[in-house]
Symmetry: C2
Subunit: 339 residues, 2 copies
């Protein structure tokens, strides 16, 4: 039985959202064992207000918690008993198989880095992020692609990009059920010689690998299109890409609101399109994906979005379980040893 | 009287589009003197089919031309009489004040680099690009902001980013009539310590400058919003940003088409929105901006988009003239000497 350590003190809506996710999930037959890591009194009091099945839940007390706005290093230094650190240690000692947190991203990753070992051949860890695309991906026709790194490792060399490609491919194969995901480097042109030195060198190395479905470079235009399943880039660029996509979605909503206010004809047009827009919003809802994988360690960590609803956290737990049960870490280790 | 050297052999629709722009413009009182650089026979024959005023036009023969798909270096090496090189030399010798070309971007920039001197204090040249934004900019409420570098200088250090900030600010002030344009560094967070080493160092230097309206870092979300007038970044990131915006626009069009085909209700909704969508398309039409400035040289070069229509090329000529008449190069030189 898979066991997940859930940092219930992390996230904009903590502890309510994580606990609500756990309580709701515990009533289902397919719920893994959940270690609820956080303030015992708060957890007990909150759980008492929600229907739940204690047989699948266990409370692990942690007396401290990192706030969303805390400086990650200072917070972890001053709080040895922070819930995220306690959860990471549970995984380290084999009491849990994976860590799920909607908390402070920097603190979650730092807790992993301080507690777990990096896999051999991984120069730096990466945060994966799924984003909506025009084209569909994998067996289940997901309108999402994976990009990594989304912001952990700003500057990357060729070794790091190659490791990211291996990790992203393994993740897409296991989590998105995509037997042979297409992988590409993000660059300023499709030709192999286009890009920074690191990109050009990584391109030639990835081209030589038979274990990856490396399709070459993609450009910025390919991001919204979703030409490939896995986009590999450094964390500086990846962070800007992900935030641009968020910004475009926001700008579109503002523009629609402004258009509706500007004229009744626009308003009528938008009203007719409402079902299509709602459907679009639903299919491209990141909450169904629940979380971003922290990749490169010997253990599994899924970082749920800070704004996560209970549903998003439940989905992050499912992703973590699937990563454990499909041996994502073993697959990444194999891929890294292949070269 | 300002004189512009127009590379009539450059662009997807050359020589027709550049010559049509020149012929049409020549009939107006405000047309600068245009040196039409290219194959004399072709130019004469094409002009003969168009109403034009020869008093404002002069043909300068160039026996060779760089194709859009040519390798820039190989092409310029093997074609000393390429129209873009001849045009750059006309500017170098003072026979023209600025160069306008819709040709092969790499060849245009290389022709400038080989023929002109870089301004003191400019480590590398930059290509500026305007892109549509939600917020409006400058005196004329343009729904456009400027980003540089859009792809010339992939890796940047702090000196280069600082020079780009000075050049972008000067350009926005003169061309977009924006007395004190806001300038920001693109980064993975708004805090001064966020970003690559180069970005963090450039931030602290720009912060200390009183001659620029430096507002700090912006993130990816700020790009579509258009929070600032000038976004400064390296060419690798800038190229990806600009192409992502193109990709988003394409994806939106595809999605609207698909929605219209999927149901009559969607089709009716889109039909009602058509005037608003057409207006949006018109206001965000890059062709009205005509061109991207090549910044950092002692001379003015405006690179029009390869797909430019005659109208876009005419607007590029107007931008080049404005850059000359407002002494853009002098302003950049002053800004660079200030530190």
């Amino acid at each position: 039985m898979t066991t997940i350590a859930l940092d219930v003190m992390g996230g904009d809506h903590a502890p309510q959202a994580p606990l609500s996710a756990a309580a709701h999930f515990s009533l289902k037959a397919d719920c893994p064992t959940l270690l609820l890591v956080g303030d015992e009194a708060v957890i007990s009091a909150t759980l008492a207000t929600m229907p739940h099945a204690m047989s699948r839940l266990r409370i692990v007390h942690a007396s401290q918690a990192v706030a969303m706005t805390d400086d990650p290093k200072a917070a972890l230094d001053s709080m040895p008993d922070a819930s995220v650190s306690v959860a990471a240690r549970l995984v380290q000692h084999g009491d849990a198989d994976a860590l799920v947190s909607a908390g402070n991203t920097g603190a979650v990753v730092l807790a992993c880095a301080r507690t777990w070992s990096r896999l051999p051949g991984v120069p730096r860890a990466a945060l994966g992020a799924v984003y909506p695309t025009e084209q569909l991906h994998g067996e289940s026709n997901d309108p999402f692609a994976l990009i990594l790194d989304a912001g952990l490792t700003l500057d990357v060399d060729a070794d790091t990009l190659e490791a990211f490609a291996v990790m992203g491919s393994a993740y897409a194969a296991r989590i998105s059920r995509n037997a042979r995901p297409s992988v590409a480097l993000l660059s300023n042109g499709s030709e192999p010689k286009k890009g920074t030195e690191a990109v050009v060198l990584a391109h030639s190395r990835l081209k030589a690998r038979k274990d990856l479905n490396f399709v070459g470079n993609v450009e910025g235009t390919d991001i919204p299109r979703g030409t490939v399943d896995v986009v590999v880039t450094g964390g500086f660029v990846g962070n800007i890409v992900i935030k641009m996509l968020e910004g475009v979605a926001e700008t579109m909503q503002t523009m629609m609101r402004t258009a509706a206010e500007a004229s009744l004809v626009n308003k009528a047009g938008l009203a007719l399109l409402l079902p299509a827009l709602t459907e679009l919003k639903k299919t491209t809802d990141w909450q169904q994906y629940g979380g971003a994988p922290v990749l490169g360690f010997e253990r599994v960590c899924i970082k749920a979005h800070g704004r996560s609803s209970p549903r998003a956290i439940k989905n992050a737990i499912k992703v973590a379980r699937r990563a454990v049960e499909t041996d994502l870490v073993g697959a990444i280790r194999d891929g890294l040893q292949r070269h």
